[in-house]
Structure formats: C-alpha cells, structure tokens
C-alpha cells in the first residue's frame, strides 16, 4: 500500500508539490509558535548578578489562577529581612546576603548620566557583592552617606577610580560622593548597607536573600522550603535568573500569551491551505481512484491509500518546514526585542517538543483532510465514479451549501464583541469573524458560484466572443473546481482586510483617545535616573505659567473577573495618578471625580466596570504589580479606557508596590505662553532630565505591543496563504490539460484558449475580491462602530487596492503559466497521456 501511495504521489507532481508547500509552511508556522510557547514556559534569564549565591529566596512573583497559566508580576515584591538570620542557622549555609535595590545613576564629569541597562534597580547595599560570582573588589567598602562603590563599566564610562569624587543620583536625589571601590560589571552602584535600606525605603523587608552554601544547593533549598512564609519561594540553578529581574521575567510570560493568541487564526489558515491543496491533489486523481475502486479496492482501503499518499508527501515536507520554524522563531524573538516587549537577555528554549507538536498536528490535519477529500470518491458506486471521472464536473451538495451559509451567518454574532469591548481582544474577534465567514464561503461557494454564473451566462450579450462565453460556461459547469479558486483567493482578501484593519483601527483609536485625553502640553522624563528625581515636581510647579503638573507612572494590576462562572485573571496595564492628575489628563470621567484619588482608591474604565458590575463608591479587590492584594474604593468611572487602560491607581495606593518607587514622568499643563515653554526647557540642564512637547501618559506606547506583533504575523500568514493558493491554482490548472486538448481538437486556436483562461482568471479574481469585501464588510463595519463611532475601520487606504492587485496578479499568473505549458504539447499527445 505504501509503495502504491508513493507511486501515485509521484505521478501527480504539481499537485503533490502544492501539498508539500502547504505542509512545509504550516510546519514552519506551528513550530515557530511552539518554540515561542516553550520559551515562555521554560526559558530562563541569565543568572548574572546572583551567580555567586547558589540558593536565592525571594517573593513569589506569580499569581496562580485556579485553572489557568500562572501570571507573572513585573514589580519587585519583598521578603521579611528577619528571615535572613533564620536561614543563616541552617546547616550547609556559608553566608547569607540580603539584597535591596533602589534607582541609581552615576554622572560623568560633564554632568551627563552614564547609561546603564536598568537604572531603576541599579543601586544596592555593599553586602550584595556577596551575590556576585566573581567578588573581585578594588578598594574599600563605602561607609557613611558620602561614599559609594561603582562597577567597572560605570567607572570606565564616568572616568573614575577609587578615591575620585563623583556625582551620583540615588533614589532621585543628586549628591556628591567619593568612590571607595570598583566592583565587577553588573553590580551597579553600591552604598553602605544601612543607607541602602534607607534609600530603598524598606524597613524590615528586603528584595531577596542570597545564600552561599557548602556542597549541595538542592539539599539546602529543600531545607529552606519549610521555613519560608507564604508568598516566598526558593530558587536554585537557572531559575535564579528569573527572580533577579521580575519585570523581565514577567515579559517572558508574554510569550505564552502571545503564542496562545497566535495559535488560533494561523491554525485555521494552515488547515485551510493544507485541506485546499489536498482537495486539488485528490480531485486530480479521481480517475485513478475510480479505477482502483473498479478493481476491488474497498472504500476504507481507498481512504487509507489517499491518506497514506498525503502522509508521504507531508512527511517529506515536515523536516524542512520544522527547520524553517526554528529559524522563524528566532526572527520573531528579534522582532519582540525590537519593539521592546522582550528583554534581549532572554534566550529561546530550543527543544524537540515544538517539532513533535508540529509533526503530530500537521499529520493529523493531513489525515483528516485527505480522508475528507476522498470521502465521496470512496463511497460512491463504482459505475457512477467511472462515468464521473471521465466527464468531470460534479454537482455541489446542498448540505455543504447550507453549512456554509450557517457559518457566514454565525460570523455576524462573532463580529459583535468590538461593540461591547473596546480592547485588542475585542478587535481580535473581527478577524476571527472574517475567517469563519470565509470558511463558510468556501463551503457555500460552489452553489453560489453556480447560481451567479448561471445568471451571468443567461445575460451574456449575443455578440460575446467564444472565449468569454466558454470562460463563463466553464465556471458554471465546473462550479466545484472554480469555487475552490474563488474562495481561497477570497480568504486571502478577508485575512488581509480584517486582520490588518483590526490592528490599525486599534492603533488609531488608541492614539486618538490618548491624544484627546491628554490636556498636558509637556512631558518631563528622566529615564537614565530610574525615574523623576525628588523635588522636580515642586520646581516645575514654581515655573510661572505652569497651570498643572502631576507625576504619572504605569504599573500592572490584576483585576479578577467572573466570566461564565469562572474566575478570569489577566494582568493589565494601570496608570498611577495623584489627585492632581485631573489637571493634566481628561479621561472622559462619566461619574465621580479623579481629584478624589487619595488613599486606597481607584478610578476604573466604564467597560471594565460594567463587566464587573461596579460603580463609584464600591469596593474592589485588586492584586498590585508586586503581588500585594489590596482593597480599594472606586472614586471615578471614565470612558477613555483604550487610551489609558482599565484601572487608574491613586499614587497613595501604589506607593511601595512599584519597583524603584519613582514616577515615570511628569505631565505639565501650561498657559501656552512661549516664555513658559522656554522656562520648562531650561529644566533640561539638570542631569538626566528631558522635556518633550505634548503629553504622553506614563511611558505607554501608542498601542499595545501585541498590535504591532499581530501586524508582523499577518505578513507571514498572508505570504503563506498566497503561496498555498498560487500552488493549488497552478495544480488545478495543470489538471485541465485534457480539457484544453479537447478544445483544441474541436478547433479552438491557442490564442482563443489563452483568452478563455484569462477571462476565467478575471472572473475568478473579480469574484474573489467582491466576495472577500462583502464577507469582511459586516465585521469591519461593527469594528468601526465600536472603536470609532463610524461604520468603517481606520487604516491605510491602499490596503484594499493593493490586496485586489495581488489577488488578481496571482490568479493571472497561476492560470496563465500552466496554460502556456499545456499549449506547448500537441493536443493529440496531451489527450493520449490522459489515458
């Protein structure tokens, strides 16, 4: 059976090639996504600064929802300092190093900030040298408030050596100090331990405790476990890298979320392309299959044969496809690092699991699709089959038609979420609705096309040329085959339109809300210092012409929601705003007042509030970015949720729960006088301070990163989809050699054949563009209404014409080239080789 399958696959080379390419691309996409998912679960950041401590005790930076993946928290949590003494008593523990961190920066002699990777946590106590792998220290420990130690990188950049004076900015305060020691790279800025605790603002708690042990680290870790209070974890080996930088570790879990959200649509498309290629390939073998049935192959054996043949081809494609997938994942990681959602230090985990998953998944799809495509041929009476295989067209089944119409109808409720939830998740359902409708179109296509072309054939004017008339007759007669081409091309149109517009609409709507909601006209930041330095608010306030100023930060909040009886827990961005924030941001407050943001209070977006049925005056339970569970009173409900996030925390509530503790930026509203702007610009002579026009709340980008990632993904997907379509179309056209030969024997000139095929290409691509636009119209209209209050989406105007051009170009090329090749051989030979 296997040898027979192999031989059949070889005789239909073009069609096998289409299946091969479809599986190859599919394997690449699935493997790539799988690598991202596995990395999200298993990759570790480099241990770096904690390499010298074999065992690390830290706060548990994850929240574990009842039945879902753990959510990683980005803000540094803390552990009781007293724990250190207890741990020191354990057998095998050589020394105990408690560590705290605070924002720190070093200025060079010109007064400019020396760049470091993470200024927010660059400051530590002197004892943290004990955490380093290589405690090579030049100099003496800093003591007292005027002494610091700096790492070699900083020392080199600032041009200082032990004994030199240096200006430092510690926890937002600039001071003059003396360098007492130079410590290994990555150690940051070190001060005396008691002063470090002061600067970190932590009394009785530390960020983490490093243990240097004799012998087996695992054994010590096991002994540490029972001593730990709740919410504290012990890490050894590579896992220590994750606790060093919670923010970076939290970004890692984004990979899992991303892979999950990526999986749905690409899987649908992979299935669609593979099934399409197999349908063409098996359609072209109907005569052989009918003959096999005639000589006694049972329906079951025939399906096994067809599935076996497809599996042979798929197996050949899997190996390169999986290899490409690993490369694709690497490219994707670079993109994620580039858009700033993934730390560069995080490597990908390259294991065999994604390859196995891709192989299993695609072989499964191929088996199901091949058996499905061969189902009818395997079940029909042999006599019927032999008659059919000679004469070609089959009538589309009405059941399939009805299922298709149902799917198209089902796309309408699927398009509704953007009206209810103005978030990227709401917008994602737009592309899903479009694709579901396009699959419905693929099912209902043959009968629809038969009706449309039937009407067209009747209305053709009497003087229509023979090629044009033949083109319409072919589309009508071969409705099943032609609809395959029309609907796959329509799928490309739908994916291009809904996927792209869903992203661009979110981007534009977010930008519009941010713009409309920001009444500040200047933003002050100090990224090199780890945050806005102390006293700057008062200085800005004192500038004549400044009407309002407010420090703004962004953090992460978990706000549980009951969805369908299950607790949904996902981390969302949140603004941190003092009462003065009302003067610089207009969040479109619907109820309550932002000026009441004092104490344990929050303001919430109307959508999020509605979904949880809370209003002004209600108490809500939140988990802050460091894992602290808090209860807060809602003091305002606002409308501009897309631009500013679903939750605004009062500065009082967030205090002590953000890493570093300094505000990200100052938003300033002025009287608009150029003199005021000049005065504000004058603030930039302070080290590390930058002033920019306009206001950007916190460091929030114009749109969530997943939106940009989705846009990149669509490029890969569309390329794959179009390649699959072009291949299937070439294979389908190549199977028409017999038909073309018959036409030529009947007296059709090669020129007339070419004209006929071009007319068909025009009709097919025209129908595809029209159907694609029609099917996308409802989801896109609802998307526009939901996000922009108008029944059309926002995005590049060239998208539709460009998509139409590509679809038309592919249809023409994929039909023209095989036609030319078919015309090259003498018609009698072509017929003879058909058998």
């Amino acid at each position: 059976m296997f040898a027979l399958a192999l031989r059949l696959a070889r005789t239909r080379l073009t069609a096998s090639l289409a299946v091969l390419v479809a599986v190859l691309g599919g394997a690449a996409i699935v493997t790539g996504t799988g690598v991202l998912a596995e990395s999200g679960l298993r990759s570790h950041l480099p241990v770096d600064r904690l390499a010298g401590a074999e065992v690390v005790v830290s706060a548990d930076q994850t929240v574990q929802p009842s039945a879902d993946l753990a959510v990683a928290l980005p803000e540094r949590g803390s552990v009781p300092a007293a724990l250190a003494d207890e741990l020191a008593q354990l057998p095998g523990v050589q020394s105990v190093v408690p560590d705290v961190s605070f924002p720190a920066a070093v200025l060079d002699p010109a007064g400019d900030v020396v760049a470091t990777t993470d200024p927010v946590t660059a400051g530590h106590g002197w004892s943290s040298v004990g955490l380093l792998d290589d405690p090579a220290v030049t100099g003496t420990p800093p003591t007292g408030p005027r002494e610091v130690a700096v790492d070699t990188e900083m020392a080199a950049a600032a041009g200082v050596a032990p004994g030199d004076p240096v200006r430092v900015v510690l926890a937002g305060r600039t001071s003059d100090a003396r360098v007492t020691a130079v410590v290994p790279a990555g150690a940051g800025v070190l001060v005396a331990d008691d002063r470090a605790a002061q600067l970190a603002g932590q009394a009785g708690t530390v960020d983490l405790i490093g243990l240097q042990v004799d012998g087996d680290a695992e054994a010590v870790a096991d002994a540490v476990g029972p001593l730990l209070p709740a919410g504290t974890i012990v890490s050894t080996g590579d896992a220590r890298g994750d606790v060093a930088l919670p923010e970076a570790a939290a970004a890692r879990s984004l990979l899992v979320v991303l892979a999950g959200s990526l999986m749905g649509v690409p899987l649908l498309i992979v299935g669609f392309v593979v099934a399409g290629a197999l349908a063409v390939s098996i359609g072209g073998q109907r005569r052989e299959l009918a003959l096999l049935r005639a000589v006694g192959t049972t329906p079951r054996q025939l399906r096994r044969l067809v599935a076996g043949q497809a599996t042979v081809v798929a197996a050949v494609a899997l190996v390169p496809g999986i290899a490409v997938g690993y490369l694709l994942a690497g490219q994707f990681r670079r993109l994620l690092v580039h858009v700033g959602v993934l730390p560069d230090a995080l490597p990908l985990t390259v294991g065999p699991l994604p390859a196995l998953a891709a192989a299993a998944l695609l072989l499964g799809v191929v088996q199901v699709a091949a058996r499905g495509a061969a189902w009818r041929t395997s079940r029909e009476p042999v006599t019927q089959l032999l008659a059919d295989s000679r004469t070609g067209p089959r009538t589309p089944s009405p059941g399939r038609h009805r299922a298709g119409l149902l799917l198209i109808a089902a796309a309408v409720p699927l398009s509704v979420p953007p009206l209810l939830v103005q978030s990227p998740i709401g917008a994602a359902s737009t592309s899903l609705a479009g694709i579901v409708a396009a699959i419905g179109l693929a099912l209902a296509g043959p009968l629809l096309l038969r009706r449309v072309t039937g009407g067209l054939a009747r209305r053709l004017p009497a003087g229509t040329s023979a090629p044009a008339w033949l083109a319409v007759a072919n589309l009508h007669g071969y409705a099943l085959r032609s609809a395959g081409a029309v609907t796959t091309l329509a799928m490309a149109v739908v994916v291009a339109l809904t996927y792209t517009f869903a992203q661009t609409t979110v981007i534009d709507a977010t930008a519009e809300q941010t713009r409309a909601g920001t009444v500040a006209d200047a933003t002050i930041t100090a990224p090199g210092l780890g945050g806005i330095p102390a006293g700057l608010v008062d200085d800005v306030q004192a500038v004549p012409g400044v009407e309002a100023v407010a420090p703004v930060s962004s953090t992460t909040v978990l706000w549980p929601m009951r969805l369908l009886g299950e607790e949904e827990l996902s981390a969302g961005p949140a603004l941190v705003l003092p009462p003065a924030g009302a003067g610089v941001l207009d969040l479109d407050v619907r109820d309550g007042d932002l000026a009441d943001l004092t104490g344990a209070t929050v303001a919430v977006g109307s959508g999020a509030a509605g979904a949880r049925d809370v209003g002004v005056g209600d108490q809500v339970q939140l988990t802050l970015g460091d894992g602290a569970a808090v209860e807060a009173r809602v003091v305002a409900v606002y409308g501009r949720e897309l631009g500013f996030g679903s939750v605004v925390l009062s500065a009082d509530l967030a205090a002590g729960h953000t890493t570093g503790g300094l505000a990200d930026s100052l938003l300033v509203r002025t009287d608009g006088d150029p003199a005021t702007d000049r005065a504000l610009a004058g603030l930039t002579d302070r080290p590390g301070v930058t002033v920019s026009g306009g206001g950007v709340a916190g460091d929030r980008p114009a749109a969530p990163p997943e939106v940009w990632i989705n846009l990149a993904v669509i490029g890969v997907l569309l390329g794959y989809l179009l390649l699959g379509i072009a291949n299937a179309l070439v294979a389908a056209t190549a199977q028409r050699r017999g038909e073309i030969a018959t036409l030529r024997l009947t007296g059709t000139t090669p020129r007339q054949v070419r004209t006929m095929m071009r007319r068909e290409a025009a009709l097919v691509s025209g129908a595809a563009v029209a159907a694609g636009v029609l099917v996308s119209a409802v989801p896109l209209a609802l998307l526009g209404l939901g996000f922009l209050d108008r029944p059309w989406p926002s995005g590049p105007g060239w998208l539709l014409p460009a998509t139409a051009l590509v679809v038309i170009g592919i249809a023409f090329l994929a039909i023209e080239l095989p036609t030319r090749s078919a015309l090259r051989s003498p018609p009698a030979d072509a017929l003879a080789s058909q058998g």
Partner: protein
C-alpha cells in the same frame, strides 16, 4: 438538403510520400502515399503500432510529417503554424474520437455548435436541427454529456464533427468504447452520412466489422500501406489481419 462540396477534381485529403519519424528513431510512417476522393469512405486498418493513428494525426494536421506533403482540401498544410493549422482544422475537418471528447461543462447543444462559435460563424439553425434529428438527440439538447449513454455521446460528437460542414471527418476508433449495439448504430450513421450527404469520412479502426462499412480499406503494418481492398468484406479483412500477425 443541399450539401455543396468543393469540385470533385481534387481529393479531400492527399498524402504524398509522407514519412514520420519519432524522436526515438521509430519510423511511424514510411513513404506513405494515400488519396481520399471526395464523398468516399476510407477505412484504415492495422494492428497496434502499425502507424494508423499517426496516419490520421498527420493527415488531419494534428502533427507534421518529417518529410512528404499533406494536402487538405487542396491546401498544403506543411509550413502552416499551429494557429493556422487549427483554423484549417476548424474549417475543413471534423473529428470523432474513441473517448468522445465532449466538453463536460457544456450542454449537448453547446457542444455541437461549439466549432461554429469558435470560428465566429453564424448559426445555420436548419442545418443544426437536421443534424440533431439525424443523430437522434433532439430531446437531449439541454443535457450534459455525463447524463448521456456512450452511444449518445458519440452521436453528439459526430454531430459536432459535421456542424461546420467539413471537407472530411476523421474518426479514430469511434466504437472502441461502445457496446455492440451502440457501435453498430454509430457505424451505420457514419455510412449514411457518406451516402446521403456525400460526406468524406476516414475511419481508423482495428475492427474488421467496422472497416467493412467503408468503400475502401487500407491495411497498414510497420508504417506502410501493405494492402488496399475495395468494397472489403469483414471476413477478408479479418483474414488479412491474421495473416499479418502470423507473418
């Protein structure tokens, strides 16, 4: 029914010293000279590989001879390009094949009138009606080929071959896929067309019973015409073929 044909002075088809050598060096036709007079019914017989199908393809302008001359209705087809040869075929030749080769997407009526449509000729309704009645498909015009029996499909193919009033109809094993009864019907139809309309027909077959309906039969072997029989009887033809096989 007027079926004005060209003057009988020139043959409908003439092959003069035609040789056809295939790329692998096989000589499919070896110095063949054949003339098919207008209004005659010629059968070409021979075992497989004797060159009878090549003869048909070369004579019909589907293939070009390696050397020699082919005249179709007085026009030399050597030196014509594929498009000109297609047009010549469309105007002067009708084909009937073993596998019918009707276009599945078209109805019977559309298949029959396709050659006229392709040539951009106007439809002679009376002629089409005559043909349709003659082949007995008057009630099947809106059906698709798949809905017809083999004999009916072949009769539709014969009507299609005749619709452009060709100088000659080439039939390549037209009964090869038919049962005895349908085959007899098709052969009778071909002979009647010759007798009633003066249509020239060239029939390629391996079946002596089919060849026996012709005015003249050529027997081919190894690319050459080895025998010519006028008003052949099936038994004679069968004898010749058996002799060829044994010789």
């Amino acid at each position: 029914m007027s079926t004005a044909l060209a003057p009988a002075t020139t043959a409908a088809v003439a092959l003069r010293q035609v040789t056809k050598t295939h790329p692998h060096g096989v000589r499919a036709l070896d110095d063949v000279t054949v003339e098919v007079p207008r209004g005659s019914f010629l059968a070409v017989m021979g075992p497989s590989g004797s060159g009878k199908s090549t003869l048909l393809q070369v004579a019909a302008g589907l293939d070009t001879p390696t050397s020699g001359e082919v005249l179709l209705d007085g026009t030399a087809i050597g030196g014509l390009d594929e498009t000109r040869r297609t047009e010549l075929r469309r105007d002067r030749i009708g084909f009937v094949f073993q596998a019918y080769n009707l276009l599945p997407a078209l109805t019977v009526a559309e298949n029959i009138t396709l050659p006229l449509r392709l040539a951009g000729k106007s439809l002679d309704r009376a002629w089409v009606q005559y043909l349709v009645d003659r082949v007995g498909l008057g009630d099947r015009l809106d059906h698709r080929p798949a809905e017809l029996s083999g004999g009916q499909q072949q009769r539709a193919a014969i009507a299609r071959a005749l619709v452009a009033r060709p100088a000659v109809v080439f039939a390549d094993e037209p009964t090869g896929a038919l049962d005895l009864h349908s085959a007899a019907e098709v052969l009778d139809l071909l002979r009647d067309l010759v007798d009633d309309l003066g249509q020239t027909v060239v029939l390629v077959t391996h079946d002596p019973a089919a060849a026996a309906r012709a005015h003249r039969a050529l027997v081919m072997a190894d690319g050459r015409v080895v025998d010519t029989l006028d008003h052949p009887a099936a038994a004679d033809l069968a004898g010749r073929l058996v002799a060829l096989r044994e010789g």
